[in-house]
C-alpha cells in the first residue's frame, strides 16, 4: 500500500493497531465489551492508511494541554 501522507500531518495523532493481547488487557481493565468501546469507521482515512481491519482496536496517543499524553481506544467498525 502506498504510504499515506495524512499520517505525517501534525494534527493527526498517532494511531496504532493493538495486539489481541493488549486488547484483552484493555477490556479487562475497564470491564467492558468490545461494543462498549468508542468506534471508528473502517473507511476512516487513518484506518485505511494504517490498514486496520474491522474488529481491531486502535490506540490513539493524543497530546493534551493538561494531561500530557492521553490514550484513546477505538474499535474499527
Amino acid at each position: 500500500m502506498k504510504k499515506s501522507i495524512i499520517l505525517e500531518h501534525q494534527l493527526v495523532p498517532k494511531h496504532e493497531i493493538m495486539t489481541d493481547e493488549e486488547v484483552r488487557a484493555l477490556l479487562k481493565e475497564y470491564g467492558v465489551t468490545l461494543e462498549q468501546l468508542p468506534k471508528i469507521f473502517s473507511d476512516d482515512p487513518v484506518v485505511k492508511a494504517i490498514g486496520a481491519k474491522k474488529g481491531q482496536v486502535l490506540r490513539i496517543t493524543r497530546n493534551s494541554p493538561t494531561a500530557g499524553e492521553y490514550y484513546y481506544y477505538r474499535v474499527v467498525v
Binding site: G31, V32, Q36, P38, R62, S64, T66, A67, Y70, Y71
Partner: protein, 882 residues
C-alpha cells in the same frame, strides 16, 4: 438515553358492531339517569352495570366500589344507521373509487394488479444483503419507493373519474358530499343504510389498496349501527351543594341520542310518512355527530341550557387543554412554590426567605422517633403555625389532622409513624430560576420563614441564578425523602456552589457598593476610632476587639479572615508598571494577606467578587461554610462601612478638565487626518500588500487600527483627567460597576460605531451611508467614527449612525440568545445520560465509554486554579508549611 423497549408498531382500527355488543354490559334504552330517590335506573344511562360513582353502591358487573371499579361499557342499538363524523372523508373517497353495484375498484384488472404489486412489499424482490454498498442501495430503494407510491396515488385518483365499471359494466353516478354528513348520487339522496350496503360490497383484498386493513377496519363499520356508551366513570355526574344533580356533557348528549332513537323507532313502527322518518333520522345523525365532535363546520354546535357549547369527545382530547397535551405530556410538581423574589442583604446567602403563607402550605415528612416524639406530638395538637398536617401510620394509612381528631391521633403517635409537618426554619429546599441552564440554576437553601409574600434572596446569591429583582419569580421545591434531603445538603447547598465547577472561580461575592465599601475600607491607612469599629463589627457579631483606641481599615478587614490565611495576588487596579514593586506598590494593587492579616494592598473586585481570590482561598483551605460566612460578613460589613465613610457620584463627577477635552479632540482630529492620509496612500497604491487580502481590505484594516488606537489614547487621557480619587474611576477600576470605556464615551468621545462588526461603510444608499456624505467616501466620519461624547451630545448624523449601531447590537443579542439557547438544548440532550463512573471513565447509560478519563486529565475544574493544577503554588505552600 437508552431505550430498553421499543414500540414495534401501533395499529388503529374501527370498532366492529359485534365487538361493541360483546364488550357491552348493558343495552341502554331509557334516556333517564336516576329515579326520584336518586337511585340509578336500570337500563338507563347511569345503570349500575356500567360502573359506580356514588359511594356506598356496588358495581353490578364487577361488584367493585367506586374506587376499585374501572367502569364498563354499555351500548345503544341505533334504529337506523348513521355516519361516523370522523370517517366521512374515507367513506367519500371509497364511494367514488368503487363500483355502486359490484363494489370493486373502478380500474381495469391489470391496473389493480399493478397497484397490488406496488403496494405490497412481499412481492417486491428481497433487498440485497446488507454487506457492501449499503448506503447506495438504500438511497435508490427509497427514491424508487417514493416514485411508486406516487404512482399508486395517481391510480387511485384516476379511479374516481371513471364513469363505467370495467368489471360489471355498471354506469356510475356522480357522488356528492354535502358537508358534514349528507351524500348525494346524481342529486338523489344516499342514505347511510345504502352507503353501508355499498361499503359492505368492497372486497377485502381491494381494501388493502386504500391502506385499510379489513381485519380491524371494515369500512361499513364507519357507518354506525351500534353506539358504545362509555362507562359512568368517564362521565361522572356531580352533586351540587343544593343536592341537585348535574350531569356530564357526554351524558346529556347520550340522553339526546337515546330520546331521538326512541322516537324514530316509534314512528317507524307506527308507519309514519317517509318524510317524518327522514327528518328524525337526520336529527339522530346530528346528535351522534355532535356527540363525537361538537365543533363540526356546517352544523351548529349543540348547546347546554345555559347557552354554553357542550364539550364532547373530540373537545376532550383536542388542543392545549385537551387530554394529550394537558394530562399525558403535561408535567406538574407537588411540594413546590413560586413567587416574586426580592433582595435581602440581611439574610445569609445560604438562606432563602419563605413567606409565612407558603411555609404553612408546604410539608416535610418526618419519621417519628423516641427523640422527637414529644415535639411532634405538640405539633399535632397545635392549631397554629408549626403544625402537623398529616399523619401516616406504619401500615401506610394517611390521616388528615383536624380540630376533632388531633387528640386521638396524638395519643396514637409512636415511633415508626411518619408525620407531615409544615416547613420550618432550617429545612433544606431547592431553589430554582428558569431558564435552568446551569447546575447552579438549582441550589439548596435553608428556609427562613418571614412575613410578606415574596421569596427573599441575598443579592450575592442572585448571580448564579442570573436573577435580578425587577419582578423575577423563582420556584422552591421541598425534598420529600431523607435521601433527597441528604443529596441537597451535600451537593446543592449554596456554600458548596460558591466556586463554579466550570472554571474554578468564585461566582458569588460582593456586588456594587459592597465592592466599593471593601475597597474604601482597606485602602490606605484609614483610621476608625474604637466606637466606630465596634459598631461596624458588631453588625456581624464580632464583639471582642483588641484593647486599643484606633483601628485601621485593614485591621478591621482582617478580622473577617481566618487566622492562618495566606493570599497574594495582583489586583484590578494594577497599572502594569515595568517593574513590579509588589507589597510596596504605590497604587496598592498588590494585595497580600499573611497569617490572616491584610498587610498590603487595597482589596477590590478580583479579591471579593470575581474571580474572588480571597473567597477561593478560604473555600479551599477552610471549607465551603467558611467561605459563605466570609461573604456574609464581608457584604454586611462593607455596606455599613460605605455608609459610614460616604460615597457618592454625580453628573459633574465625570467632568474632564478643559485641557484634557482639548487633547482628546486633538487625538480624534489627528486620527481623522491619519485616515485621510491612508486613503490617499491607497489611491496612490502605496499601501503595503498583505497576503490573502485585497488592497481594500488592507486599507480597511489600517483605518480600523488607527481609529481604535485613538479610542485607546482617549481612554487613558480620560483616566488621567479624572484622577484616581474620582468616584466614577474608582467604581470602574475596582470592578464595582462600569468600565473605563463607559467613562470615555460619556465624557470624551464615543469612538467607532459598528454594524455586524464592521465600520458603517458599504451600507445604506449606494456608495454612501447617508445622503450627507460624498459617494464612495470611506473616511472616518462617514464610516461611523463619532467624535462627540454623550455629555456633549451628538450631532444629527452621529446620532443616526450611533442609533444604527445600537439597533444592531439589540437585534444581535436577540438572535444570539435564542440561537445559543437552542444549541445548548441540543447539546444537553446529546449528553444527558453521561456521567463519570467510579473508575474515572465517562460513560453513557448503556455503559459504552465516551472518554477514558474525564476531560482527558480526570480533573474536577472546581478544585483547580484557573483550570490547572498549579504545581509551583503547591510546592510553595508545602515549603512554607502552611
Amino acid at each position: 438515553m437508552m431505550i430498553p423497549k421499543e414500540i414495534g408498531s401501533v395499529r388503529f382500527g374501527i370498532l366492529d358492531p359485534e365487538k361493541i355488543r360483546k364488550m357491552s354490559q348493558v343495552r341502554v334504552i331509557t334516556p333517564d339517569t336516576y329515579d326520584d330517590d336518586g337511585y340509578p335506573i336500570e337500563g338507563g344511562l347511569m345503570d349500575l352495570r356500567m360502573g359506580v360513582i356514588d359511594p356506598g353502591l356496588r358495581c353490578k358487573t364487577c361488584s367493585g366500589r367506586p374506587a376499585t371499579c374501572p367502569g364498563h361499557f354499555g351500548h345503544i342499538e341505533l334504529v337506523r344507521p348513521v355516519i361516523h363524523i370522523g370517517y366521512v372523508k374515507i367513506i367519500y373517497s371509497l364511494l367514488r373509487s368503487t363500483c355502486r353495484k359490484c363494489g370493486r375498484i373502478l380500474l381495469p384488472e391489470d391496473e389493480i394488479e399493478t397497484l397490488k404489486r406496488i403496494l405490497f412489499s412481499e412481492e417486491l424482490p428481497e433487498k440485497p444483503s446488507h454487506e457492501e454498498k449499503e448506503g447506495e442501495e438504500e438511497l435508490k430503494t427509497s427514491v424508487e419507493e417514493e416514485e411508486m407510491e406516487q404512482m399508486a396515488l395517481n391510480l387511485i385518483d384516476k379511479s374516481k373519474r371513471i364513469t363505467k365499471c370495467p368489471h360489471c359494466g355498471e354506469e356510475q353516478g356522480k357522488i356528492k358530499l354535502v358537508r358534514p354528513t349528507t351524500f348525494y348520487e346524481n342529486d338523489q339522496r344516499l342514505f347511510p343504510s345504502q352507503i353501508r350496503e355499498r361499503l359492505e360490497r368492497i372486497p377485502d383484498d381491494e381494501l388493502r389498496i386504500f391502506g385499510i386493513d379489513p381485519k380491524v377496519a371494515r369500512p361499513e363499520w364507519a357507518v354506525l349501527t351500534v353506539l358504545p356508551v362509555p362507562p359512568v366513570t368517564t362521565r361522572p355526574s356531580i352533586t351540587l351543594e343544593t343536592g341537585e344533580r348535574s350531569e356530564d356533557d357526554l351524558t346529556h348528549k347520550l340522553v339526546d341520542i337515546i330520546r331521538i332513537n326512541q322516537r324514530l323507532a316509534d314512528n317507524i313502527s307506527a308507519g309514519a310518512p317517509q318524510l317524518i322518518i327522514e327528518d328524525l333520522w337526520d336529527l339522530l345523525q346530528y346528535h351522534v355527530t355532535t356527540y363525537f365532535n361538537n365543533n363540526v363546520s356546517g352544523i351548529p354546535p349543540a348547546k347546554h341550557r345555559s347557552g354554553r357549547a357542550l364539550k364532547t369527545l373530540y373537545q376532550r382530547l383536542k388542543g392545549k387543554e385537551g387530554r394529550f397535551r394537558y394530562y399525558l405530556s403535561g408535567k406538574r410538581v407537588n411540594f413546590s412554590a413560586r413567587t416574586v423574589i426580592t433582595p435581602d442583604p440581611n439574610i445569609k446567602i445560604e438562606e432563602v426567605g419563605v413567606p409565612q403563607q407558603i411555609a404553612e402550605e408546604l410539608t416535610v415528612p418526618v419519621t417519628v422517633t423516641e427523640w422527637n416524639i414529644d415535639k411532634l406530638k405538640k405539633m399535632v395538637l397545635s392549631d397554629k403555625y408549626p403544625r402537623v398536617k398529616y399523619v401516616i401510620s406504619p401500615e401506610g394509612r394517611k390521616k388528615i389532622i383536624t380540630e376533632f381528631n388531633k387528640e386521638e391521633v396524638a395519643e396514637e403517635l409512636a415511633p415508626g409513624y411518619v408525620v407531615e409537618r409544615q416547613l420550618l426554619d432550617g429545612d433544606v429546599v431547592v431553589f430554582n430560576r428558569q431558564p435552568s441552564l446551569h447546575r447552579m440554576s438549582m441550589m439548596g437553601h435553608l428556609v427562613r420563614v418571614m412575613p410578606g409574600k415574596t421569596f427573599r434572596l441575598n443579592d450575592a446569591a442572585a448571580r448564579p441564578y442570573n436573577a435580578d429583582f425587577d419582578g423575577d419569580e423563582m420556584n422552591l421545591h421541598v425534598p420529600q425523602t431523607e435521601e433527597a434531603r441528604q443529596e441537597v445538603e451535600e451537593l446543592m447547598l449554596i456554600p458548596k456552589n460558591i466556586i463554579s465547577v466550570r472554571h474554578g472561580e468564585a461566582i458569588m461575592g460582593a456586588n456594587l457598593e459592597q465592592v466599593t465599601g471593601t475597597y474604601l475600607l482597606t485602602k490606605g491607612n484609614r483610621k476608625f476610632d474604637r466606637k466606630t469599629a465596634m459598631r461596624l463589627l458588631g453588625r456581624i457579631g464580632i464583639k471582642d476587639l483588641p484593647k486599643k483606641e484606633t483601628f485601621t481599615g485593614k485591621e478591621i478587614f482582617s478580622m473577617l479572615l481566618p487566622d492562618d490565611l495566606n493570599v497574594e495576588y495582583i489586583g484590578k487596579t494594577c497599572k502594569k508598571c515595568a517593574t513590579c514593586e509588589k507589597e510596596k506598590c504605590p497604587f496598592e494593587a498588590y494585595i497580600k494577606i499573611k497569617d490572616g492579616k491584610l498587610v498590603a494592598g487595597a482589596v477590590e473586585g478580583a479579591g471579593v467578587k470575581s474571580p474572588g481570590h480571597i473567597i477561593k482561598e478560604i473555600y479551599h483551605k477552610h471549607g465551603p461554610q467558611a467561605a459563605a460566612d466570609f461573604i456574609n460578613n464581608l457584604t454586611v460589613l462593607a455596606l455599613h462601612v460605605i455608609s459610614e465613610i460616604g460615597f457618592t457620584t454625580s453628573l459633574e463627577e465625570g467632568d474632564l478638565p478643559e485641557e484634557i477635552l482639548k487633547e482628546i479632540k486633538k487625538v480624534a482630529d489627528k486620527a481623522e487626518k491619519e485616515v485621510d492620509k491612508l486613503i490617499e496612500k491607497y489611491k496612490q497604491g502605496q499601501l503595503p500588500e498583505v497576503p490573502g487580502k485585497t488592497p481594500e481590505e488592507v486599507l480597511e484594516d489600517l483605518i480600523m487600527a488607527e481609529l481604535s488606537k485613538a479610542r485607546k489614547i482617549a481612554i487613558s487621557l480620560t483616566q488621567r483627567g479624572l484622577g484616581q480619587d474620582n468616584a466614577d474611576v474608582i467604581m470602574a477600576t475596582i470592578g464595582a460597576k462600569g468600565n473605563p470605556l463607559n467613562l470615555v464615551q460619556m465624557q470624551g468621545m464615543l469612538g467607532q460605531s459598528s454594524l455586524r462588526g464592521k465600520r458603517l461603510t458599504q451600507r445604506g444608499y449606494r456608495y454612501k451611508m447617508l445622503p450627507h456624505f460624498k459617494p464612495g467616501d470611506i473616511s472616518a466620519k462617514p464610516g461611523g467614527f463619532i467624535k462627540s461624547s454623550f455629555k456633549k451630545g451628538l450631532d444629527p448624523i452621529e446620532a443616526f449612525l450611533q442609533a444604527m449601531s445600537g439597533r444592531d447590537s439589540i437585534v444581535d443579542k436577540g438572535i444570539n440568545t435564542s440561537r445559543s439557547g437552542y444549541f445548548y438544548r441540543r447539546a444537553l440532550h446529546a449528553m444527558l445520560d453521561m456521567w463519570v463512573r467510579e473508575d474515572g471513565t465517562v460513560r453513557d447509560s448503556s455503559g459504552a465509554i465516551i472518554q477514558f478519563r474525564f476531560g482527558e486529565d480526570g480533573i474536577n475544574p472546581m478544585n483547580t486554579w484557573n483550570g490547572k493544577i498549579d504545581v509551583d503554588r503547591i510546592i510553595k505552600e508545602v515549603k512554607e508549611g502552611s
